[in-house]
Amino acid sequence: MSENISRRDFLKLATVGAATTAVLTGCGPASRYIKREPYMEMPEYTYNGLSTYYATTCRECAAGCGLIVRTMQGRAIKVEGNPNHPVNLGKTCPRGQITLQGLYNPNRVRGPLKHARGEGLYDTNFQDAPPNLSWDEAVQVVADALQASAGVAFLLGTAPDHLFDLSSELANSIGAAAPIRFGASSIFEARATLSKATEDLFGQAAMPFFDIGNSDLVLSFGANFLETWLSPVAYSRAYAQMRRGNPKIRGYFIQFESRMSQTAAKADEWIPIHPGTEGLVVAAIGRLVAEAKGGEMPVAFETVDLNTVISEAGVRLETLEHIAQLVVEAFTPIAVPGGGALGLSNGLQIAEAILAFNVLNDNVGKPGGVSLSPLSPNQDVYHSPASAQEMTDFIGRMNSGEIKTLFIHGINPVFELPTSLGFAEALANVETVISFATFPDETAFASDYVFPDHHGLESWGYQRVTTGVTQSVLSGAQPVVSPNYDTRATADVLLAASQVLPFKDEMEFLQSKFAALVGQADGSFSAPEINTFTAYFQQHGGWWKTTSDSVSPSAASALGTNLTVEPAQFAGEGEFFFLPFISPTLGEAGANKPWLQELPDPTTTVMWNTWVEINPETAHELGIENDDVVKIISEAGEVEASVYLYPAIHPEVIAMPFGQGHTAYGRYAQGRGANPANLLGAHFNEAGDLAFAGMKVKVEKTGRKQSLSRLESRIGVYGEGMGEEHP
């Protein structure tokens, strides 16, 4: 335990510690659950009016923040950050706070069931369908499916990691193809591109770590690091450190992005460049910086033609020169590539140009610069989630009939994947689809069987921290409440059904993955044998190194490669560039939590719906007003949404949040808003990530109006929002 632990933290850990002794005394994992009991029959360690706190890991995204959940009489009451966890140091994002409304959501899959594909899992009054199988029958179904091992495929989300490890081992031992992991965040963060660029420039595929906190000048190219990007809580803390951590220097922050995101709203300068020119801009600034520094011009920036950049990107030469000047004067400038810049036809070039820019500024492996995130304690190689191209290949295997049984966990592909990839149609060519969904989502509707996993707060497991901190972290999850419904851990189902892996249950598997850490002295705790380790692991909420483990890559040759950066290519026809972005409040799977729906979007303040952002000048020319419903048409499809006149967006760009537009997923999500993924065509960048920001679209008026619920006043104190017709 660290020395600067506060009194309150100690009390928390002490209570948690009391609870973990059950494992030490050799009881099985099941006895670790607290039951929800009437007040007259309380478990002996629960006192009336006193809470019990459990450390676990948030599963709302893949970042792996540590939580301490306050429980009372077996109910989870409040989520708080784990103050000792390196990723979030006691803090949480809104999605982490409201994870409880997932746990206690009125629409959950209540037990194993079989149903006709497409049939709903709740009725028109949103009453959940009753389970119609026993778990023994369910395990038998899985066992039968696993017999035809060559035709078995696993499609997993980006969390939790222990299930990915287990299915990898299982697939390996039965001779099935390795599991594939994907999710909407993989699309919008373009992780595969980031990792490929790192490999190309530094000779090592890894997730780079951008040390924004120790930088005094941040140039962000569409990186929404204060919203959902990679590890938002860790990067928000880094942002605060950049601004106020050094009493002498307030870090300066410039964001290049054609639409002002929540992150860009915090920038000192927001530069709305022409879509698709991020690479040109960074190369131009790189050239100017190299010129100012003197010496030989690096090959990487040799061929940049400033005049082309100025005309293509729509920025003035003075702006570029001013930024280059800031870079030269800064101690530790850093450039950060975001999903919006990488999800373009030439996203890989852009990522490489941005990394090369960091090399030019000599920040690689230094504080305030770029390094490679360390691997997690029980990991050998960095494993990036699948790119959209790999996902498309997977869908091709489904279509060819190669996949007989598809297991789906932790992802809702029918909703999250662009319709143009054809996942829903490909399901028709798979004989058996088994979903392990906790919630009645679109994919569960489209499956033959639903064998619900516990909610994340009812589950064991671990999550590897892939980025956000320089330490190597394995974040631990344990149940904070007993399961509310007749759900079962997917790991247990797979183990019971396969009988090929040498583990009795999920806990035994987890312990096998901890074995290498027992006795290690350089971590947050050290334990001499496995049961003690497991108990401490639960109490602390994971195991992490106490010192930085980040890798300083070799960047020697990075500036020697010739970077040819051109403007991106856009698919489809239309007068607007289309920029979908992941909703900062909902994330990819938040739409079924009513309080997340009622959180106003930070920049538009819209609640409970989807909007489309259009520049007011452009809208005026088209005769479009606030709340007009417009139809947006791309080569891949069309969606309708209400207009929000957004003053901070490039006149040729329209933007839409991703997260709504569900056709299932419970009473709070279904039939609400529109899904911009339906507009995305199957176009990829060189690293195989979807060029989601590389579409052009048409906008048509529908003549209808549908008011958006906003927190901001539409009228204004002096009636200025009433429009011309209401003077």
Partner: protein, 261 residues
């Protein structure tokens, strides 16, 4: 005939206070606030706030005890968020406009804590206080949101509300017709006080935190004792960047904002 009323005895002390020195205070750094809504979410989970649904939200009936305001300034491309994101919550005024207008003394001033209290079981829903609050931070329960059958499952003929499992037992659940607002997490204050009292000492700064300050990923919100000049919150409030909202109304807010830049 002359009638003299001592407002101190009427529970409306705020109306005549020259200066208020309170125990608890807060600073909000607008340079750090990223507008992420974690405070709003944490507040909702801690204080059993109801979600009102799309339609009522559109009518401005949301139950946000804390909200993030965003003001546009300028026109494209020189547009920016004026002054940064601005979390707005009850300022716990030392001289609170909401207090003297309540006909049933449901919004008294706490002498001990120097906070603006809200007594739910006294409130008759005149909404005078909300009308008089210059910060617009009071929210009214227009319906019984929590027990709307839409949130329920029908099990054996009974309505079961799974979301109710999450309710914080330390905080009242409010019914229709009642005004509510930020309490500075008074349940946490009381808990800390009880504990300190049982140990025969004063509550220390940093011993507990409000839900919003606890969650804030950027550490923009700092809560603590303002009666001690050595505490972090007092030090921050002394910064040159500090200002108080609508100071000119002499409301003596307990929250100091720190300007961007």
């Amino acid at each position: 005939m002359s009638l003299s009323i001592d407002l101190n005895n009427m529970g409306a002390k705020g109306a005549i206070a020259d200066e208020a020195t309170g125990k608890w205070g807060m600073t909000i750094d607008q340079d750090l606030c990223t507008g992420c809504q974690a405070c709003v979410a944490a507040c909702a989970m801690e204080n059993n706030l109801s979600h009102v649904g799309e339609e009522d939200a559109g009518y401005g009936r949301t139950q946000h005890w804390i909200r993030i305001e965003r003001f546009w300034e300028g026109e494209y491309p020189e547009v920016k968020v004026k002054g940064g994101f601005q979390p707005m919550l009850c300022q716990q005024c030392g001289h609170a406009p909401c207090e003297p207008v309540c006909p049933v003394f449901a919004t008294p001033h706490s002498n001990a804590e120097q906070l603006n209290l809200q007594v739910y079981n006294r409130c008759v829903g005149t909404r005078y206080c909300a009308n008089n609050c210059p910060y617009q931070v009071r929210s009214f329960n227009w319906r019984d949101y929590h027990i709307n059958p839409f949130h329920a499952n029908e099990i054996d003929g009974q309505l079961v509300f799974p979301l109710h499992n999450q309710f914080n037992p330390d905080v009242t659940v409010r019914r229709r017709g009642v005004m509510e607002k930020c309490t500075f997490c008074i349940q946490r204050i009381h808990k800390a006080q009880d504990k300190a009292k049982s140990e025969g000492r004063e509550v220390e700064d940093g011993e507990f935190n409000t839900a919003c300050a606890q969650a804030c990923p950027a550490n923009a919100i700092t809560f603590g004792r303002v009666d001690d000049p050595e505490t972090l919150v007092s030090q921050l409030a002394q910064q040159e960047r500090g200002y108080q909202h609508l100071e000119e109304l002499n409301t003596l807010p307990r929250i100091t904002y720190l300007k961007e830049g």
